[in-house]
Symmetry: C2
Subunit: 461 residues, 2 copies
């Protein structure tokens, strides 16, 4: 809720309770649809429905596009399918499809027959595209002009179709088979001489995306070329919709959410946190946890092979969590850094050698520093001699060396694992923080006890 | 490099080597500036400079906006300040400022006097805004109209100023003091009756952002309201620039990068991976590593207090990494999930109780499952009796119980820590994966050995 909504909120609630429709009209004139949506989210369900009912159909559609699914469903329950069908008819095609895609079969069967014919037909085409495809986020309301129109005629045409279109700023020139043969902007049309023909003005090199391509492909093209909109075509190249810059913002946000979830060592959720059911949540989290747990059982196996050393010097086991987590932490940092750099294209597969060189340098510097801290932790401990035995300085030096090795290894493993994943065709994000930490934990134990065996034989061991 | 660039690349290289400017002109007609930038990135520095030189000034500016800083700097070195100053004059104000902001003092001093007066003045104003502010990413090329103009006059005016402006689709109505009093879209102007005045058409409720506000604030407003552009104002409310949807895409991407880096347990970098110097990189990574290391030393302290138990039953120490990492992994998952949900607004501070309830349910289910795996790992191990002693089933049950407790605790700590951070006014992203893992490691050791002491006293202990 932003500041404006917060200021207006108490008054709005009063107006709704009093049922004064005229005052509500004034209120709506001041607020933009996203503000009305904010306001409704804060109201009790019945108040929210009353407020929604007081809007005209255009406002209803704009507000309905802005509220979350849980809230849309509540309005459907309260106001009935007839009212909501009217709202759906006025909504933009992509938001309408978003809503209907999530309805259960029974609600769909009740709602769909109530829609206007054109909208129902349009909806069916959009629903045919799987979630996550360009087709599933496109809008079917786009403006087209003919190549032989003059700039003046094209503007006159746009003037008439404007109320129906998602945008009139980017206009497509299509032939009889709806193949895109050109693209022209309203800016070009306005600046041009009125008698200039569209075919003279239009750009003929068309960049488009297939309807069944991943939506991220469309987002990347729009971001790269700074397009306001991108045409979506079917397998035969016929234009079927457009994706606009504001869709890209949603796509990029959703992608960043999925990447963050993967980085945390789980599968990406399809819905928001609260919209995800508990069984679905457990599946998304449990699968990776089991894999990681099985990976971690190798730490026990690794420790077992050094059980003799631990029995001789229990003190060695005290530092195992500290030592291996240092490798895990540096590995996590490096992995997060490289995964994201790969995602935004700052680092490419071909850069692996440059990355490795940089990370060796970083790993060595960080390892020397953390190793020093480990050394100090042991030798400066109050009464270190009594706690760790007479060889405590030697123990400290062993820690230093082991930490250097483990931190260097963690940095290298963390930075190169995402590149390796990409190389073998897997999503680099699979090299998640917990995944790298697990890998480095197991190898860290081997490094630690090997260094210990080497340096402490004849003293502690 | 996309497919088109890849196809054209060999031919382009030939043309550049042959120095045939006419052919190069044809090539440029087919490629969009981002494609030329892609192509140049793949060429040798001298070839790239030759290609750049063959472009006209407008093309040069568009391409220069698309290439990365390292490459821009290389062109400056090869083509000299005079050529690049000409390019800067033709660039959009925000991209020009981006480039100059990163130049060292000497290059700035050489370049700035070569710029046209208006551009130099404009640049100085933009450079006054700190990096990360709305002012630092705004463009100063925006269109304004007067309230008494008719729609026809406004369109005619836009027609003339179009070549200079970042966008003419959203137009601001400003008074004599440059306060924004209204906003009108070209769509509205086109659809309106030609004689309708701007003051009749314009929307008077203006949403704007201050120049020194964080750029994310502007991005959030544009994303929320689906605006094509947002006005930027100074402290007195005077309009000084606009931020457009394509800026928002960049801002959201940069923010996601910073969040990913924080999630990996490091400070966010200001520059890209390769542009960050080694000392800067070590600072950003080393600081948190030291904090985490100090946190992890408590694992050693915790282990020390159970040293007696370890000496009696070394077998207990074998499972410490496995057990605590299970807590760390579930905690990492929960933290990543909640941090991101907070960032996109799906979860709010007020939801903490709903989150806690859900996570207790998830944590219990995951704990029972992972605990079962831990139990099986011990009792089904070949020759478990010899390896873990006669009480190995009891040891297995202890593992099950300890894992349940630790996983439940990890889930709760991981999910509630970001909410706590937010509550006390810190960035929730500070509850990074390694941070939560460290916290859960230390407490995990306490839980594990407490359960062990409770269940194994009289048998192993």
């Amino acid at each position: 809720m932003n500041e404006m909504t917060r200021l207006i909120f108490p008054e709005a609630r009063e107006i709704i309770r009093s049922g004064n429709v005229a005052d509500l009209g004034v209120l709506m004139g001041v607020l933009l649809p996203p503000d009305v949506a904010d306001l409704m989210a804060e109201l009790a369900p019945d108040e929210s429905a009353a407020m929604f009912k007081a809007l005209d159909n255009k406002q209803r559609a704009e507000v309905f596009e802005q509220i979350d699914y849980e809230h849309q469903q509540a309005l459907l329950d309260r106001l009935g399918p007839q009212v909501i069908a009217g709202v759906l008819d006025s909504m933009s095609s992509d938001d309408r499809a978003d809503f209907v895609r999530r309805l259960d079969a029974r609600s769909r069967e009740t709602l769909l027959p109530l829609l206007a014919h054109a909208e129902r037909h349009d909806l069916k085409r959009l629903l045919a595209f799987a979630e996550g495809t360009a087709g599933s986020v496109m809008s079917t309301e786009y403006a087209t002009v003919e190549p032989e129109m003059t700039a003046l005629q094209a503007i006159e045409h746009l003037r008439h179709v404007a109320p129906l279109q998602e945008t009139i700023y980017i206009v497509y020139v299509v032939d009889k088979e709806r193949h895109v043969v050109g693209v022209v902007s309203l800016r070009q049309l306005i600046v041009a001489a009125p008698a200039a023909t569209v075919s003279k003005l239009m750009r003929r090199e068309i960049i488009s995306v297939k309807g069944d391509a991943p939506r991220e492909e469309a987002a990347n093209l729009i971001a790269k070329y700074d397009f306001l909109a991108l045409p979506v075509v079917d397998e035969t190249g016929r234009m079927i919709g457009i994706i606009t810059q504001d869709d890209v913002i949603d796509i990029i946000k959703a992608k960043a959410t999925q990447d963050a979830q993967k980085a945390g060592g789980m599968e990406a959720l399809e819905l928001s946190y609260f919209d995800t059911s508990l069984p679905a949540m457990l599946r998304k989290r449990g699968g990776w946890l089991i894999v990681l747990f099985i990976g971690q059982t190798f730490t026990a196996t690794a420790m077992e092979s050094f059980e003799g050393a631990i029995q001789k010097a229990a003190v060695l086991s005290l530092f195992v969590p500290l030592v291996i987590s240092s490798g895990g932490n540096t590995g996590s940092q490096a992995a997060s850094l490289i995964i994201r750099s790969l995602a935004v294209g700052e680092v490419k597969l071909a850069d692996w050698w440059r990355v490795a060189r940089r990370e060796v340098a970083s790993g060595l510097a960080l390892g020397v520093g953390l190793g020093l801290l480990g050394f100090l932790r042991i030798v400066l401990w109050p009464n270190a001699g009594a706690e760790y035995g007479e060889h405590y300085v030697r123990l400290g030096l062993m820690m230093w060396l082991a930490l250097m090795g483990i931190v260097l290894w963690g940095t290298l493993a963390g930075s190169l694992m995402p590149l390796l994943m990409k190389r073998i065709g897997l999503d680099p994000a699979t090299a998640s923080t917990p995944f790298v930490a697990t890998l480095v934990d197991v190898t860290g134990i081997l490094i630690y006890f090997s260094v210990a065996t080497l340096m402490l034989s004849g003293t502690l061991l």
